[in-house]
């Protein structure tokens, strides 16, 4: 009998420990409203919001990444009296649709893909609220028209742009270039001439002009889709790109196949790839996070990857510095001509699930220059920028953020969002990734790849 008692107590204790762990897990961060910038003149338009609370839900969960966001709302909180309740979750993309369906949506959410915004709007009628007049006016004034388009669904404007990033970059070593007398190419032809020159300069050796890698676990193939998107913009222009993304031009249209072939002139030519790793097929098995490393060993000269790759260089060599005079730097992936400047990129958008005045005011604030500059101030370590044209470029601390901002705000720049994020996820996170992997790994032809993706496109 007493033995049974002891067992029961133990079971109870174990269960209590489990409960304890659960209680400790539920945490939300609430910023205090103490510190902030002085001048509140720009905030009078939002009115007095004392005692009002706006909840915000994002995918940015780690404390070090969330803090700059929380800090950037402080001027708004101080001047209007509102409280912003920040919540970040790594499961954001799975959680948000569930919460919206269940009627438990946050007031605002940062949505990293326009495709997800469109799904939310069409599958939950009446749950996502159009942006207010002030937010709309701010976006018209401070952002290129394309950004408003990506925050809209069926012509109605819902979500204001918040962050931005640029993907049309080629990483290289300034020192290796100057040692060999190479110059940064300004057109596609110059880029290919440079590639040929590197091949000619390195006969009978394993040094090659390009290195690439598309392995990324369950998302294997995405770096190759970025290549195709960049080449679509360069070969066919932004209008055809839009039609391709909207599927008014089929995926196996000859124009698309031509763009894939153009990417193949680099990615599938064993003369040009894969420096430091071997032949064409090694691209499929090389993790994208490691693919740029041969530039530092001198086995490869160029690696096309987005601005975020700047964080990876330190993982290869702790002492590597990123900047125009550093060990590693990036140039804009040139277009066919020197005066056209298509830019492939991405960004987040803040959508509202309530039309309370304080929610609309906060959404408008996120589109204002005040917020972009406050966010830059709150991010001393860099790694963030927006496409707001009143953002003070000197507040961006990291060189590549500055370069990205300059490219985005260039008069000639034509910004287009990463196409695979806009396509239905069956294609954009499915067949497009998979077929590009087959294109490299199984040497499937551009036409076969395009046909297979076209076949997978869901019927409307």
């Amino acid at each position: 009998m007493s033995h049974a008692r002891v067992t029961r107590v133990l079971v109870a204790a174990a269960s209590a420990t489990a409960l304890l762990a659960m209680a400790a897990c539920s945490s939300t961060a609430t910023p205090s409203t103490s510190t902030a910038a002085g001048d509140c003149a720009a905030y009078t338009q939002y009115g007095d919001l004392t005692g009002k609370t706006v909840s915000l839900f994002t995918s940015i969960a780690s404390d070090s990444e969330a803090k700059p966001h929380i800090d950037s709302y402080k001027p708004f909180e101080k001047c209007t009296g509102a409280t912003i309740k920040y919540e970040g979750s790594r499961d954001f993309e799975a959680q948000l649709p569930v919460r919206v369906k269940a009627g438990n949506a946050p007031d605002l959410a940062y949505i990293p893909q326009p495709g997800l915004l469109a799904t939310l709007v069409t599958e939950n009628p009446g749950k996502v609220f159009p942006a207010g007049d002030l937010a709309s006016k701010n976006v018209d004034t401070y952002y290129q028209a394309a950004w408003k388009g990506y925050g809209s669904v069926d012509g109605k404007f819902y979500a204001v742009p918040v962050g931005a990033n640029v993907k049309s970059f080629v990483w290289y070593s300034p020192k290796a270039f100057s040692d060999k007398g190479y110059t940064v190419p300004a057109t596609w032809d110059e880029l290919m001439a440079l590639s040929d020159k590197i091949v000619a300069d390195n006969p009978n050796s394993d040094v090659k002009p390009w290195c690439a890698g598309i392995e990324s676990g369950g998302a294997t193939g995405w770096p190759a889709t970025d290549w195709i998107e960049d080449l679509m913009l360069r070969v066919n222009g932004a209008d055809v790109y839009d039609q391709w993304v909207n599927h008014t031009v089929p995926f196996n249209d000859p124009k698309v196949v031509a763009a894939i072939d153009k990417a193949g002139t680099i990615l599938k030519d064993p003369k040009y790839v894969n420096g430091g790793f071997g032949g064409v097929k090694t691209i499929a098995t090389t993790p994208f996070a490691e693919a740029g490393a041969p530039i530092l060993d001198g086995n490869c000269f160029m690696h096309r990857q987005a601005s975020f790759y700047q964080a990876n260089w330190a993982t290869f060599d702790k002492k590597a510095t990123v900047g125009p005079d550093g060990d590693i730097w990036a140039f804009y992936l040139p277009s066919m001509t020197a005066d056209s400047k298509p830019v492939l990129g991405g960004g987040e958008f803040a959508a509202a699930f309530s039309d309370r005045p304080e929610v609309q005011a906060f959404q408008a604030y996120l589109a204002s220059p005040e917020w972009s500059n406050a966010k830059a101030d709150a991010t001393p370590n860099g790694g963030w920028l927006s496409a707001n044209n009143k953002l003070d470029v000197n507040k961006l601390t990291m060189p590549v953020d500055k370069l990205s901002y300059q490219i985005l705000s260039d008069e000639k720049a034509v910004f287009r969002f990463d196409g695979s994020d806009l396509m239905p996820s069956k294609v954009g996170a499915g067949s497009f990734w998979k077929e590009m992997t087959n294109w490299i790994a199984l040497d499937k032809s551009s036409q076969d790849v395009a046909d297979a993706i076209e076949k997978s496109w869901p019927a409307k």
Partner: protein, 331 residues
């Protein structure tokens, strides 16, 4: 008292924790106090003990299972009934046919080869001086996680481009052996359909230890008299193995076969870890179910794949349970 539901500061959270523990202790105390009363009708303690388990099975297993079956007949939003369309896609689309072909290969090869290897090994090391050590060796892979095993084998298959001069060393064991034999190194995991067999080998490597352990125990349970009698009748070597050993351990062989078959149908980790999430034509149903449901937001196709997997597993489970009953009845 709002803070009880939405604690925000540390003291509040601690207080909530204490309240939760107290609540739990009180409920448990009540349950324990009540069930020991002998005068209670029998159904009260029965319900008290079985009720929570039944509730958990209902809401954690039966209900989601039924939802999955329902979803397999609806479109990806879960709102429009589409009949058998999702299954039609699975059984006509070329990519899914490859997935089904791979799954059939897995479920045909892994149980038979792992069991055969385990059986032969168990017989060979039975009653030898190195038996314990030899058994430990083959049982070790069972102790490694599937992902760990996959990473080990990924290194075995690792490929290094031999380079222009052809003198760069291979770090993959298999490719180095190929080079020693005068061959060309290969990217083994990129050559369909051979890559599927390369992955199947890993699963066999893991499961053979399980087969060997169970079958070795069964072999030891064969009465010495039976063996003696067979030997007196002149049965030796292979004849002894096929006519005495195998029939004697038949129930154990079937349990091992079906258990490994079920494990194989559910295998996910090897393909996910070694073939970049099921690329290069290596995907199997459990993998594709995950990709479709969570990467591509095609819950309908994912549900249909899960149902197909369920339909494939059920007969094996039924057969397995019946065989276990039979072998238990024999004792």
């Amino acid at each position: 008292m709002m803070w009880l539901l939405k604690p925000e500061t540390l003291p509040e959270k601690l207080a909530v924790m204490v309240v939760a523990i107290l609540l739990f202790a009180v409920v448990m105390g009540l349950v324990l106090a009540v069930v020991d009363r002998p005068r209670l009708p029998k159904w009260v303690p029965v319900a008290g003990y079985l009720g929570p388990a039944l509730l958990l099975i209902t809401f954690g297993l039966l209900w989601p299972g039924m939802l999955t079956i329902r979803n397999s007949f609806y479109d990806h939003t879960g709102n429009t009934f589409v009949g058998w369309d999702n299954f039609a896609v699975i059984f006509t689309d070329e990519a899914f046919l490859i997935v089904i072909r791979n799954t059939l290969l897995w479920v045909a090869l892994v149980p038979t080869l792992a069991t055969a290897l385990g059986l032969v090994y168990a017989v060979l090391v039975d009653r030898t001086r190195v038996e314990k050590f030899a058994k430990t060796l083959i049982f070790l892979p069972m102790a490694i996680s599937m992902v760990g095993a996959s990473i080990i084998w990924k290194f075995v298959y690792e490929y290094r481009d031999p380079g222009v001069r052809g003198d760069l060393p291979q770090i993959g064991l298999l490719n180095q052996i190929v080079v020693w034999m005068g061959g060309e190194p290969q990217q083994w995991l990129l050559i369909p359909p051979a890559n599927t067999f390369m992955l199947i080998i890993v699963m066999i490597w893991i499961q053979a230890g399980f087969a060997m352990t169970v079958l070795s125990a069964a072999i030891k349970a064969i009465p010495d008299e039976t063996i003696e009698a067979a030997k007196v009748d002149g049965a030796m070597g292979l004849r002894l193995f096929f006519f005495i050993t195998v029939p004697s351990v038949r129930p154990a062989i079937i349990v091992v076969l079906t258990t490994i078959a079920m494990g194989t149908l559910k295998a996910f980790d090897i393909v996910y870890t070694m073939a970049a999430g099921g690329n290069f034509d290596t995907s199997i149903i459990a993998n594709e179910f995950y990709t479709q449901s969570f990467n591509q937001n095609q819950q309908n196709i994912g549900a249909a794949l899960a149902v197909l997997l369920f339909v494939m597993v059920v007969p094996i489970v039924v057969y397995n349970v019946r065989q276990m009953r039979i072998s238990e009845g024999e004792r």
